[in-house]
C-alpha cells in the first residue's frame, strides 16, 4: 500500500510514518500544501492522508484541487477541528472521511484499511 502523508508537524508526521512503515506500507511525506498537491499528482497512491491546517495551501484546497483534476484517490482528512461546518465543507469538497485529533493509532489504521480497500467492511 502506498500512502501519501501531508502533515506539517514533524512529530505527527514522524509517528504516522513510522507506524505505517511498520505495517509494511510505503510512505511519502509532504510538509506543506503545495508539495502535497505536487506529489499527489505525480505519484499513484492508494490513500492520501491530509491534514486540515497546512502552510501555503490548506488541506481543504488541496483536496478540492485534486478532485477538480479528476483524481479519485481516497482522501482521509486529519483535523483538530470538529466544527460541523468545517467537516461538512471537507466532505462537500470530496474528502472521503475525516479523523479528529487526537486519535488512536488503531483507529487510523482501521480507517486507512477501509478507505484503501472499499470491499473490506469497517
Amino acid at each position: 500500500m502506498r500512502i501519501l502523508v501531508v502533515e506539517d508537524d514533524p512529530k505527527v508526521a514522524g509517528f504516522i510514518e513510522e507506524g505505517f512503515r511498520e505495517e509494511q506500507f510505503e510512505v511519502d511525506v509532504a510538509r506543506e500544501g503545495d508539495e502535497g498537491l505536487a506529489r499527489a499528482r505525480a505519484g499513484r497512491y492508494d490513500l492520501i492522508l491530509l491534514d486540515f491546517m497546512l502552510p501555503n495551501r490548506s488541506g481543504l484546497e488541496v483536496a478540492a484541487e485534486l478532485r477538480r483534476g479528476g483524481d479519485q484517490t481516497p482522501i482521509l482528512m486529519l483535523t483538530a477541528r470538529d466544527d460541523a461546518r468545517d467537516i461538512q465543507s471537507a466532505l462537500a469538497v470530496g474528502v472521503n472521511a475525516y479523523l479528529t485529533k487526537p486519535f488512536r493509532f488503531d483507529d487510523l489504521l482501521r480507517q486507512v484499511g477501509v478507505l484503501a480497500d472499499p470491499s473490506r467492511s469497517a
Binding site: 505527527v12 509517528f15 485529533k101 487526537p102 486519535f103
Partner: protein, 471 residues
C-alpha cells in the same frame, strides 16, 4: 435593608403640603367671610336702630312695626326686635312680646345712655342674639317721654348657620382636594418611575447567552439618557469580555489537541512492538518536550487571566538580564532540540531593575514564536545589548516574516499572521509580551529581520539611578 418607597415619599410630601396649604387657605377664607357677615349684621341693626330712634322720637308706637312674635320667627324672618328703654333700663315700648324676655346688657345700656351706641352679644334661649343700644336724642315732647335708649336686637342664628355651612364646605372641599391630589401625585410618581422599572426588566433579560442586546426602552427620554448609556456601555463590555473568554477557552481546547496528538501517537506507535531502550529514551524525551509545551501553555493561561483581572503584579529586583536570557535559551533547547539557536551577548553585564520572572515569560513567548515559524533546520538568533540607562534584547527568525501592514497588529490579542502556522500557545503570546513590557515602561517593536523573517526587539529602561556606573 428596609427600602424607602420613593413613590410613597413623594405622595406623602405632596399630600402634606396640599393639606397645610388648603387648610390654611380655608381658615383664612372662613375667618374673612365670618367677619364680613358679622359686620353686615351689625350694620343692619345699626341702621335699623337709627331709623327706630326717629320713630320713637316722633312719638309713634313701636307696636306699629311688628317684630317677631316668637324666637323661630325672629330667626326665620330675620326680624328685629326693637325695645325702647327708659333711664333705668326698663322697657317702655317694643314691637314684640319677646322684649320682656330679652337679656339686658347693663354695660352697653350705660354706654348708650351716655350717648355712644354700643353693641352686645348675649345668649338667648338656644342661640345668641346681637343687640345695639342706641341713644335717643332730642325728644320733641310728643315722643315716648321716658325712652332714652333704643335697643335693636337680631338673632345670630342665621349667621351661625351660614358660617357652619361655609366651614363644612371648606373642610370638605379641602379634604377631598387633598385626597384627590395626593392620589394624583402617587399615580404621577408611579408613572414617572415606570420607565426605570421597564429598563430594569429589559436589562434582566440580557443573560450571558443574550448576545447583541441593548437597552432600548425609553431611549428617547432625556432624563434617562445617562442611565441608559451607562447600562449599554456595561452590556457592551460584558459582551466583549464574555466573547473573549469564549474564544480563549475554545482556542485552548484546540491548542491542547496537538501536543496530546503527538504524545498519544508517539507512545502508541512505540508500544506496538518491543523496542530498544534507546528508542524508549528518545520517546520519553520527546514526550517531555510536549509536556514542556503544555506547561508553557498553562503559564500563558494563568498570566492571561491575571492580566484580564488586572492582577499582573510587578516584583522588581536588580539582576543581570543576561542570566534570564541564558536560562530561557536553555529551556528552549530542551523543548525544541532540533532548532539551532545563535546567541550573541555582550561581554558586560546588563543590569536591570525589573521583574525577572515576567521578563523570562515574555522572552519565552517570543522565542517560542520564533521557533514555530522558522523553517526546519534554520537557526533563530538571540542578541542583547545595553548601557547604564537601558537594556534591549532581540529575537530573529528566518521564517516567512510578517507583512508590513500586519506588524502593528501582532501585539493585538489573538491575531495570527497566518493561522495555519501556529502550533502551541494560544495566539496571545505577543499580546502578553507587550503588556509585560508596558508594565516595565519599555517598548516592543516587531520588524523585518535581515535573516528574512520576523525580528522582535524589546527595550527596557534600566530602572536604576543614573549614578550607577556601567560595569
Amino acid at each position: 435593608m428596609r427600602l424607602r418607597s420613593l413613590q410613597r415619599t413623594l405622595a406623602l410630601r405632596y399630600g402634606v403640603t396640599m393639606l397645610v396649604t388648603l387648610m390654611g387657605f380655608a381658615w383664612w377664607i372662613y375667618g374673612g367671610v365670618v367677619a364680613v357677615l358679622q359686620r353686615q349684621l351689625d350694620r343692619d341693626i345699626l341702621s335699623a336702630a337709627a331709623l327706630m330712634v326717629d320713630v320713637v322720637a316722633s312719638g309713634e308706637s313701636l307696636a306699629v312695626h311688628l317684630g317677631a312674635a316668637d324666637l323661630p320667627g325672629l330667626v326665620a324672618e330675620v326680624n328685629r326686635i326693637v325695645v325702647a328703654r327708659d333711664s333705668s333700663g326698663r322697657a317702655v315700648d317694643s314691637n314684640s312680646p319677646l322684649a320682656s324676655e330679652l337679656p339686658f346688657d347693663a354695660v352697653s345700656f350705660a354706654t348708650a345712655r351716655a350717648g355712644t351706641p354700643s353693641f352686645a352679644t348675649r345668649e338667648f334661649r338656644t342661640s345668641r342674639i346681637r343687640s345695639i343700644y342706641f341713644p335717643v336724642r332730642g325728644a320733641d315732647g310728643r315722643g315716648v317721654p321716658r325712652a332714652v335708649v333704643v335697643q335693636v336686637t337680631a338673632s345670630m342664628e342665621p349667621l351661625r348657620q351660614a358660617s357652619r355651612g361655609l366651614l363644612f364646605r371648606l373642610l370638605l372641599t379641602g379634604l377631598l382636594g387633598v385626597l384627590v391630589t395626593t392620589l394624583g401625585a402617587a399615580w404621577l410618581a408611579r408613572r414617572s418611575l415606570e420607565p426605570v422599572a421597564e429598563i430594569a426588566a429589559q436589562a434582566r433579560t440580557v443573560t450571558a447567552r443574550g448576545g447583541e442586546r441593548r437597552i432600548t426602552a425609553h431611549a428617547d427620554v432625556r432624563e434617562l439618557q445617562d442611565l441608559i448609556h451607562v447600562l449599554n456601555d456595561m452590556l457592551a463590555r460584558l459582551e466583549q469580555a464574555i466573547g473573549q473568554q469564549r474564544r480563549i477557552i475554545s482556542d485552548v481546547g484546540h491548542e491542547l489537541r496537538t501536543p496530546i496528538t503527538v504524545m498519544r501517537g508517539e507512545i502508541e506507535v512505540a508500544l506496538r512492538v518491543g523496542r530498544a531502550p534507546e528508542r524508549y529514551q528518545a520517546l520519553l524525551r520527546s514526550v517531555l518536550e510536549e509536556v514542556d509545551r503544555l506547561a508553557l501553555m498553562g503559564d500563558e493561561l494563568i498570566t492571561l487571566s491575571r492580566y484580564e483581572s488586572d492582577e499582573l503584579a510587578l516584583h522588581p529586583m536588580s539582576f543581570d538580564l543576561q542570566g534570564v536570557i541564558r536560562n530561557s535559551v536553555e529551556a528552549l533547547r530542551r523543548r525544541s532540540p532540533a532548532v539551532p539557536i545563535e546567541v550573541r551577548l555582550p561581554a558586560t553585564e546588563l543590569r536591570l531593575r525589573a521583574d525577572p520572572r515576567l521578563l523570562a515569560l515574555a522572552l519565552d513567548h517570543i522565542l517560542d514564536n520564533a521557533v514555530r515559524h522558522t523553517p526546519a533546520g534554520t537557526a533563530i538568533r538571540v542578541s542583547a545589548e545595553g548601557d547604564s540607562t537601558q537594556a534591549a534584547f532581540s529575537v530573529e527568525d528566518a521564517g516567512p516574516g510578517v507583512p508590513e501592514e500586519q506588524l502593528a497588529q501582532l501585539v493585538e490579542p489573538f491575531f495570527r499572521a497566518d493561522r495555519a502556522r501556529v502550533r502551541g500557545g494560544v495566539g496571545l503570546g505577543l499580546t502578553l509580551v507587550s503588556s509585560i513590557v508596558a508594565l516595565h515602561d519599555g517598548t516592543v517593536v516587531p520588524s523585518r529581520s535581515p535573516l528574512g523573517g520576523l525580528l522582535v526587539r524589546v527595550t527596557l529602561p534600566s530602572g536604576l539611578p543614573a549614578t550607577t556606573p556601567a560595569s
